[in-house]
C-alpha cells in the first residue's frame, strides 16, 4: 500500500507527462482550434475596428483611433440598421415568446392526436429556412398572396408588404416571429413537461380555473425557462440577416431601407470593402448582445425559485 503511494508519487514528478501541464496536452487540439478560429479573430477585429482605412491584403492602415466608430455613428445607414434591429428584437422576441407559450401550453394537453399537432409545429425546424422564406415571399405577395387575401376578407386594403418600404419591416417581423416559434415551443414544452402535474391537481381541488392555474402556477414555474429562451432569442434576433434574403431577393428592403446590424456588417465587408467600419459595427453588436445577456442573467437569477 505505502509502496504503491510512493510509486505513484515518483511517476507524477517525472517529465512533462504527469505534471500539472498534462491536461493541457490533451486539451491542445481543441484549444488551438479555439485560438485560431475564435480568440484570434475576436481580438483581431477589436484591433481592426480602431484602424482607419485598413487593407486586408497588405495590413496597412492610415491611423489608429476611434475614426471608424465616429464614421458609423454618423452613417445614416448604420443608425437605420440599429433602429431596425432594435425594432425587430423588440417585436419578435416578446410576441413569439408569448405565442409560443400559448401553443406550448396547448400542445401539452393530453388529447387524442396531439402527436400530429406536435409534429406539425416542429416541422419548420427541419425545413430549409430559404425554402420557407420563399413561401413567405409568395404569401406576402400583394396581388396573389394569401395574407392579403385573408386580410381582404376583413375589408383591409391591399398592402404592398414587400414593395412599400414602410411595410418591409413588418413583413420581416411577421416572418421572424413565425420563424422563431418552433424552437421556442420545443424549449417551453420541455419546461412544461417538467412541471409536476400534482400542482395542477392541488390547484384544481382548491378551485383554480385554468386561467388562474396558467398564470399562478405554469408561468411562475416556467419563468426560468422563459428567461432562457428570451436570452437565446434576443441574441439570435439581434443577428437577423438570413431572413432578408428570400424576402427581398438579397436586398435589405425595397429601397435599402431595411439594413440590420449584421446586414450592415456584411455590406461594409463584402460589398463596400470597408473592413474598419465592418469591424467597428461588429464590436457595437457584440457589446449590445453582451449587455442583453448580462441583464437577462441578472433578472433570471432573481426569478429563480428553486
Amino acid at each position: 500500500m505505502a509502496e504503491a503511494v510512493l510509486k505513484s508519487k515518483k511517476r507524477s514528478s517525472s517529465g512533462i507527462f504527469n505534471t500539472k501541464w498534462e491536461p493541457l496536452i490533451y486539451l491542445a487540439p481543441f484549444l488551438i482550434g479555439v485560438i485560431i478560429f475564435t480568440l484570434y479573430p475576436f481580438f483581431n477585429i477589436i484591433l481592426i475596428s480602431f484602424k482607419e482605412g485598413y487593407r486586408q491584403m497588405t495590413g496597412a492602415f492610415q491611423s489608429f483611433g476611434f475614426d471608424n466608430y465616429v464614421h458609423i455613428f454618423t452613417d445614416p445607414y448604420f443608425i437605420n440598421a440599429l433602429k431596425n434591429t432594435a425594432m425587430y428584437v423588440g417585436f419578435v422576441v416578446p410576441i413569439s415568446t408569448a405565442l409560443s407559450l400559448f401553443f406550448a401550453n396547448l400542445l401539452n394537453q393530453k388529447i387524442k392526436g396531439i402527436g400530429i399537432f406536435q409534429t406539425a409545429f416542429f416541422l419548420p425546424m427541419v425545413t430549409s429556412v430559404t425554402a420557407i422564406g420563399l413561401v413567405w415571399k409568395l404569401m406576402f405577395n400583394d396581388r396573389i398572396g394569401v395574407i392579403n387575401a385573408m386580410l381582404g376578407l376583413f375589408g383591409v386594403e391591399r398592402i404592398e408588404w414587400l414593395l412599400d418600404p414602410a411595410m418591409n419591416i413588418w413583413a420581416l417581423i411577421i416572418y421572424g416571429i413565425w420563424n422563431m416559434m418552433p424552437f421556442t415551443i420545443i424549449i417551453l414544452l420541455s419546461g412544461l413537461q417538467n412541471i409536476d402535474p400534482l400542482y395542477y391537481t392541488a390547484a384544481k381541488v382548491d378551485g383554480a380555473s385554468s386561467r388562474k392555474q396558467f398564470f399562478r402556477i405554469t408561468v411562475p414555474l416556467l419563468a426560468p425557462t422563459i428567461g432562457l429562451t428570451c436570452i437565446i432569442n434576443m441574441i439570435s434576433a439581434s443577428k437577423v440577416f438570413g431572413e432578408l434574403f428570400p424576402l427581398f431577393s438579397g436586398r435589405p428592403g425595397t429601397a435599402y431601407n431595411l439594413f440590420t446590424m449584421v446586414y450592415y456588417i456584411y455590406y461594409e465587408f463584402n460589398v463596400a470593402r470597408h473592413l474598419g467600419y465592418a469591424a467597428a459595427a461588429s464590436i457595437i453588436l457584440f457589446i449590445i448582445v453582451f449587455v442583453f445577456t448580462m441583464i437577462q442573467l441578472y433578472v433570471q437569477r432573481r426569478w429563480r425559485y428553486y
Binding site: D196, L198, Y199, T201, A202, A203, K204, V205, D206, G207, A208, K212, R216, I217, P220, L221, A223, Y305, Y306
Partner: protein
C-alpha cells in the same frame, strides 16, 4: 359532515382498484383507510376528492349526491403524499392560495392564514419557501393549506410516509390534535397498521380493492372477521396454524403432530381451518394440556419473546419474565379466550 358511499367502484383497464364499497364515514371523526400498497387507498381518496371519476356507485356528503360534482365544489381539503406545496410561493402564499382563488380580500386572507399557521405551528416560517422547510414542517403547511378554506372533509394521503420514525410519531399526534381542535371529518390513508391504530377513531381495512372490515381500532384487533385482518394488525404478528378440527372438536395440526385444545367449540368437524393465535394469547403453567418446546428466548425492547414449537408448528409468543424456562425446555401451555381465532381455510372467513 357524514360521508356515505354506496356500491362505489373504480375500474382501471386492468385492475379494479375499488370494488363495490358500501359504508359510512362518521361525522367529525378521524377514519383511517388502511391496507397494503396498491390496494386502492389513493384511488378511494381521489374519488372522494373528485379528482377521479367513479366507474359505478354513488358518494353522498350528508344527503347530497356529489358523485359527479367537480372537485372545487366539494369543499374538501386534500393533503398529498408528497405535499405538493407550490415551490415558487412562500409558506404564507401557499396557505393563502385557496382563499386567493375564492377572491377573499388580501388582508382577510392573510389574517386567516396566520391563524392557520399558528394552529399547525408553522407561524415562524411564513416567509420561507417550501424547499427551506423540513419534511414535517412542509407537511404542516400542507395541512394548513387544506384547512384554510374550512373544508367539510379533510383528506390526507399517506402524509407521514416521507418522515423518519420519530417525526412520524410526533406528527401523527399533531394531526390528531389538529383534527380534534377543528372537529373536521378526516380520512387518513396509511399502510402502517400502528399509525392507523394509534390515531384513528375507526379503521377501514382494505385489500385488493375489497373492503375487509370497518371498526374501531381495538375492535378490529380483538374481533377480526377475516384471517387477513387478523394478520395485518398486530406486531409481532399473529401466529397462523393450518390444520383441521378433529372429532372431539379440537384443533389438530395438518400433519397430526399435535393437538391444541380449544376453549370454545364451534360445533364443526373435519373442516380445514386456520388457527390464529396472537403472541399474547397463551398462558404457561402446570396441568395444561398442550406441550411446547422452547426454541429460543429473546427480548425485543422491554418485551420478552420466545419462539416455541408445538408439534411441527413454530410460534412466536410473549412469555412472562416470571417463567424462568430456557431454551430446550418443554412447557405446558393453554390458550386464552382472547386473541385466539378460528378461520375457514378456503374463504379466510372467521368461524
Amino acid at each position: 359532515m357524514q360521508i356515505k358511499i354506496d356500491h362505489l367502484t373504480k375500474k382501471f383497464p386492468d385492475t379494479t382498484a375499488v370494488d363495490d364499497f358500501t359504508m359510512e364515514f362518521e361525522s367529525g371523526k378521524l377514519t383511517a383507510l388502511l391496507g397494503p400498497s396498491g390496494c386502492g387507498k389513493s384511488t378511494m381518496l381521489n374519488m372522494l376528492a373528485g379528482i377521479l371519476p367513479a366507474t359505478d356507485g354513488h358518494i353522498y356528503f350528508d344527503d347530497d349526491d356529489v358523485t359527479d360534482m367537480p372537485p372545487q365544489k366539494r369543499g374538501v381539503g386534500l393533503v398529498f403524499q408528497n405535499y405538493a406545496l407550490y415551490p415558487h410561493m412562500t409558506v404564507l402564499e401557499n396557505i393563502c392560495f385557496p382563499l386567493e382563488i375564492q377572491k377573499v380580500n388580501k388582508a382577510e386572507r392573510i389574517e386567516k392564514a396566520k391563524e392557520m399557521a399558528k394552529l399547525v405551528h408553522v407561524d415562524q416560517y411564513l416567509d420561507r419557501k417550501p424547499k427551506e422547510l423540513s419534511g414535517g414542517q412542509q407537511q404542516r403547511v400542507a395541512i394548513a393549506r387544506a384547512l384554510i378554506k374550512t373544508p367539510r372533509l379533510l383528506l390526507l394521503d399517506e402524509p407521514l410516509s416521507n418522515l423518519d420514525a420519530r417525526l412520524r410519531i410526533e406528527m401523527r399526534e399533531e394531526i390528531r390534535r389538529i383534527q380534534q381542535e377543528t372537529k373536521v371529518t378526516t380520512i387518513f390513508v396509511t399502510h402502517d397498521q400502528e399509525e392507523a391504530m394509534s390515531i384513528s377513531d375507526s379503521i377501514v381495512l382494505m385489500k385488493d380493492g375489497i373492503l375487509m372490515q370497518v371498526d374501531k381500532p381495538q375492535a378490529l384487533y380483538d374481533d377480526p372477521n377475516h384471517t387477513f385482518v387478523a394478520s395485518f394488525l398486530g406486531n409481532p404478528p399473529i401466529n397462523n396454524l393450518e390444520g383441521i378440527i378433529n372429532d372431539a372438536g379440537d384443533f389438530e395440526l395438518k400433519d397430526h403432530s399435535a393437538t391444541i385444545k380449544l376453549n370454545e367449540k364451534k360445533g364443526i368437524k373435519g373442516e380445514e381451518v386456520i388457527l390464529g393465535i396472537r403472541p399474547e394469547a397463551i398462558t404457561i403453567g402446570p396441568d395444561f394440556n398442550t406441550k411446547a418446546e422452547i426454541l429460543e428466548r429473546y427480548t425485543m425492547g422491554k418485551e420478552e419473546l420466545a419462539n416455541i414449537k408445538i408439534g411441527s408448528a413454530e410460534l412466536r409468543v410473549y412469555i412472562s419474565v416470571d417463567h424462568d424456562c430456557k431454551k430446550g425446555d418443554v412447557i405446558d401451555l393453554v390458550l386464552r379466550n382472547k386473541g385466539v381465532f378460528l378461520f375457514d381455510k378456503a374463504s379466510g372467513k372467521r368461524l
